[in-house]
Symmetry: C2
Subunit: 131 residues, 2 copies
Amino acid sequence: MKITIISETKIQNKYTKEAIKEYTKRLGAFAKVNHLITSNPEKDIPKNAYVIQIDENGESISSEELAQKIDNLAVHGHSHIVFLLETSSSISSDFSLAISQMDMDSDILSIVLYEQIYRAFTIIHNRTYHK
Amino acid sequence: MKITIISETKIQNKYTKEAIKEYTKRLGAFAKVNHLITSNPEKDIPKNAYVIQIDENGESISSEELAQKIDNLAVHGHSHIVFLLETSSSISSDFSLAISQMDMDSDILSIVLYEQIYRAFTIIHNRTYHK
């Protein structure tokens, strides 16, 4: 499985970079993860990818439901999932996911998303969640 | 305003400590913030404090609504707010707040909570949110 996280906003803080580095390392056991910062997300979405937009007005689901969703995508032949973070333009997506109804700083939202993706894969593979 | 964040779980990661340090510094302009790790949260809740429990089954509100809530508490003479994070015991609280319906690592949830408290105060005081 390939995971691409696409954002228009650069990571601001060192602690965010460290958290993302740590979760990317852990995710390596399950998926190939790329983080793409771009001024034109729509253009840079890989073809055939399944696109999940993070949007506070989207659907609130549990961690288990996100895991099930990713697992279902894999079963149905999707080998690439894109998570769109904080994109200002209205890009058509396959699913709109609300992590929280609260506004979040883009750095913090990135950390939360990485943790949820890692958590989803530990659920899918029935693996221990390492703290 | 005094803010106390009470948790039973120690902060695990250096990046979390750095994020919390940064937000505590920023919050200094608005409130006195303490972080208390305790094995007995119920016993350690300061008397007369207004207690907000973070609970994924609680009420989902927006950042603006949290700001309004904190502002209302101040107006009504509450000078101390306690946020209960990840407490296993069922402690009676004044309000139950769902930041997300997803499970979150206690470190990540701490960062998210600090950011929401900081964001709430910038909204209350109509101040620029510094990234």
